[in-house]
Each structure stands twice: as C-alpha cells, then as structure tokens.
C-alpha cells in the first residue's frame, strides 16, 4: 500500500523545465529517502507536492488526487511539510508558532507528545523563534508538522547547516518520528538516511533513476556513481 503516488510529474518554472516525468511511490508507514546531487529537483518535487508550484501529471495521496489543489487544502488532506531552512516565524514565540499549526479543537495530547519529544520547546515557549539556535528552530519546524494527525510527512534537508552535535539530535528525533509516521525525506546526510530509510529514490536531472531498497547505500561504488559522493563521508 502506498501513501503517496507520483506519476509522470512535469514542472516548469520561469520557462525552465525542472522535473521531467518524475514517477515514484512512497510506501505507507515507511521512511522513503529522496536522494540526488544538488539541483536535480528534489526540493522542487516536495514543493510541487505541497502545491507551491504548478505541475502536470498526477500526485495521489491514498488514492486521491492532490495535484492542482491549494496548499492549505493539501495540508488539511494530511500532508505535513518541514521546509528546507526551517521557515519558522521569527517574530512569533515558540508557543505561537505551534498554536498556529494546531488544527484540532483539543490539542492537549498533541502538545504533550510534542513536549515529550522536544522538552526544550516547553521551557522556551515564550521565546521568540527568531532568537533560537538553528537546531532549536528545526525542532520548532518539525514540531509544527507533528502537531496534527498526518498521512505523510515531507521533510526537506532537516540537518542542513546544523552543527554535528545538532545533526545527531535531529537524527534521533527523526528516527523516533519514523517509527510511527510515513515520511518522504530529502537529505544529503547519508549516515542519517542509512539509519532511518527503508526505501530509496534517487533523482538525476529532473528524473527518477533508481527506486528500491536502501542496501545499495552501503556500496561505495554505487553511491559514488549515483550521488557523486563517497558513502563514508556523507
């Protein structure tokens, strides 16, 4: 059973053809890693699923077409998004960032679960999000996405720009979240991907060039050929 099914997705931005018939599936209750070199269209794929960009083709969430819908309706249908660069509301407090995201009428249990996962957010609830460290902002961004019951979580480069210690913290959180959530993860950090992903998609030049299990991530030659990096270093 697939939570998300993307078929023949084409996207043009300012006359540039970015995605050329992208096709892949995200299995339910698994973490799928979307990999590839910089600029191959990974973030564009996520942003098109979210409705930020127009595209042609098909994007189905549990069998229902969501391509072409407005972003807020896609989210209400069950797609949560943790964007690259976090995009927390800097002038709002941590609590305001979270309450903005909470859609249910009684969110006490959801807040408790979030504060169990990120105790620091509870103690910093009244602090402006813009004054948090990069790692803390990433926690706010992930917490916002987890406050509601979602069908799938799209996470775009959650460890980008973070110090190594914070990368480990975020990786621990994602590993915890991955136990209960379907996730499509764009990530350059192969150690994190190896730890959490059960399914791998590789893109190159706006196309999917590999779809399958994560076992090839342990093959340095394959990693070097597909991703242009050394498996041991990334």
């Amino acid at each position: 059973m697939n939570a998300l099914s993307v078929k023949d997705l084409h996207v043009k931005i300012n006359e540039s053809h970015i995605l050329h018939g992208v096709t892949f599936e995200v299995p339910t209750n698994k973490v799928t890693a979307l990999l590839g070199r910089n600029g191959v269209g990974k973030s564009t794929t996520l942003r098109t699923i979210m409705g930020f960009y127009e595209g042609s083709g098909s994007v189905e969430l549990n069998g229902n077409q969501i391509l072409g819908k407005q972003t807020h309706k896609i989210v209400q249908a069950g797609v949560a998004f943790v964007p690259e660069d976090r995009e927390v509301f800097a002038s709002l407090t941590v609590k305001e960032n979270l309450s903005l995201a909470a859609r249910g009428k009684n969110n006490d249990a959801a807040y408790k679960a979030i504060y169990d996962l990120f105790p620091e957010l509870d103690t910093r609830a009244a602090q402006q999000a813009g004054s948090l460290s990069g790692g803390q902002q990433q926690m706010v961004a992930i917490a916002r996405a987890l406050l509601n019951k979602n069908e799938i979580l799209l996470v775009d480069e959650p460890t980008k720009g973070l110090a190594p210690k914070l990368v480990t913290e975020v990786a621990d959180v994602l590993a915890e979240v991955a136990k209960t959530t379907t996730m499509l993860l764009v990530e350059q950090n192969l150690a994190l991907v190896k730890r959490v992903a059960q399914h791998v998609i590789v893109m190159d030049q706006g196309r999917v060039v590999y779809q399958g299990g994560p076992e090839n991530l342990h093959n340095d030659a394959w990693v070097h050929q597909m991703l242009g990096v050394s498996g041991g270093h990334k």
Binding site: F52, H72, P83, E87, F89, A90, S91, L100, A101, N148
Partner: protein, 293 residues
C-alpha cells in the same frame, strides 16, 4: 513655549490623520503585497457616507451623532474595501502591475461617480460645536478637534494591537506578513486573513476620511489625494506591515512637517521627503519593518 506646544500637538493631530490612512495600507501591502492605489477611495467613501449620515441626524450635531457617523463611515468604507477585494483583487494576487492598474482605475471611478453625484465643491461636514472651541495646554490654545484625531488614532492603535496580539486571526495576519507561503503550508487559508485585513484597512481609512473632512473644512471627492501620498510615505518610513511602525512614522512626519512649515514656511513637504530618503538609505525596511523571508 506655548507656540512650541501648539505646533507639537497640532503636528501630532496631523500625524493621527496620516496614521488612520496608513495603518490599513501598511497591513495590506505587508501581508498581501498588494499596492493599493484605491486606498484613497476608501477614505472618500467613508467621508461621504459619514457626511450623508451626519446631515440626516439633525440640524445640530451632537458628539454622539458625530461618533456614530464616523463609525458608520468606517464600516461603509470597510464594506467597500471588502467588496473590491472579493471582486477584483482576489483575481490579481501576484500580478502587481495589474493590481496597480486596477486599483488606480477604481480610485478614478469612485472619484468620478462622487463628483458626478455631489460635485467637487467642499461641503461643510456637520460637527459638534465643541470642535470649534480650544483647550488650554500649558498656555497653548489647542483646537479641540485635534484631541479627537489623536484619541481616535490611539484607540485604533490599541484595537489593532489587541486584534493582532490576542486573536487567532491576528496571529495568522502576523505570521502572514512574515511568510504567507508557510502559513498556507500549515493548513491555513491565508486569503481569509487577506479579506479581514482589507476590511480593517478600509474601516480605518473610512474613519480617517471623516476626520480629514473635518480637518479640511469639508468633504469633497478630492480630499484623499495628498493624504494617500502621505500614507504611502508613512508606510515606507514605518515599515511595511508594521502598524506600530506606521504610528511612529505618522507622528514623526506630522510633527516635523508642522515645525518645518512654521520655522521655514512652505518647506514641510520638502523636509518629509528628505526624511524619507534618509530612512531608505539607512534602514530600507523602515523603522520597525522586518526583512521578509
């Protein structure tokens, strides 16, 4: 000293009028990126509806009548703003040149319709007799109507603050000013906040229209012109999307303009333009504005 007080307080009164025009303009641009040249027509609609009601309420206008006319003028302008947003602006989001053309068109149509109906001559706005009195502040005799302008602007600022700080829609508006795509990505239809902001902006401009009519000794389809220009200057100096920034900038401009006009007759506008240039050079996002995500 009494001259200093007089110029200072009348400057604050003038700043209050600028703030009433600019607060809605600031939120509309800050949240939606809509450059709304029709904002002056909200002011004119509010002024004419307030005028019409005040003339119907009796030969002698009481303070209650005046406040009622001012609120109804504000509501009418808010409703007009909402109507314009729903009929025209919703089709033009992200199309900035089209927005400018359409909103200029709306302002021309509103001006022409009102001129055809009422003519361009100033019509005396009925006011309570108390407005013609003066209040002694530190030896300076301050025209009483200035107190009404200042009180209205302060009430509007407090109302805005309560709405933005303590309500869900206010939270959405504050977040939307910062990053409206991310608000959508949290499952919130940010366009509902757009409509609220258009109504509130129209309301403030409509209330401002009534007070500008009193300040200008009458209502006419032409009253909005210079106030709209000053409204844009206030928004740029205060910072797009910042209501407190608009308040601060409006007060600064009102006071500086009055002092400049008193000490160097006729140089008030020039000094304001120099202030605008200085802010743009030193702090392009405005006094309390934020760099957008």
């Amino acid at each position: 000293m009494d001259t200093f007080i007089l110029i200072g307080i009348t400057g604050i009164g003038l700043g209050a009028l600028y703030f009433l025009v600019a607060s809605g303009l600031s939120l509309i641009y800050g949240l939606m990126g809509v450059l709304n040249f029709a904002h002056g027509s909200f002011l004119t609609v509010g002024a004419f509806v307030g005028y019409w009601l005040a003339t119907k309420l009796g030969p002698e206008t009481s303070m209650t009548d005046f406040i009622f006319a001012m609120i109804v003028g504000g509501l009418a302008a808010g409703a007009f703003a909402l109507l314009m947003e729903q009929l025209l602006i919703t089709r033009l989001y992200e199309r900035h040149i089209d927005q400018a053309l359409v909103t200029v068109g709306v302002s021309l149509v509103v001006g022409a319709v009102l001129a055809g109906w009422f003519g361009n001559d100033l019509r005396m706005f009925p006011t309570p007799l108390w407005f013609l009195t003066a209040i002694n502040v530190g030896g300076a005799m301050i025209p009483a109507d200035r107190v009404v302008y200042i009180a209205t602007a302060v009430l509007l600022l407090i109302g805005n603050w309560i709405l933005l700080k303590y309500t869900r829609i206010g939270l959405v508006i504050r977040a939307g000013v910062e990053n409206r795509n991310m608000v959508n990505a949290l499952g919130i239809n940010v366009r509902r906040a757009f409509s609220t902001v258009f109504f509130l902006g129209g309301f403030a401009a409509g209330v401002g229209g009534v007070l500008v009519s009193v300040y200008s000794n009458g209502v006419s389809p032409l009253i909005a012109g210079s106030y709209l220009i000053y409204g844009f200057i206030v928004v740029v100096i205060g910072g797009m999307g910042s209501v407190p920034g608009s308040f601060l900038a409006a007060m600064m401009i009102g006071v500086i303009r009055q002092f400049a006009n008193y000490y160097v007759t006729g140089l008030g506008d020039f000094v304001v333009v120099i202030l605008l240039a200085g802010v743009l050079l030193i702090r392009p996002q405005g006094l309390l504005g934020k760099v957008r995500a």
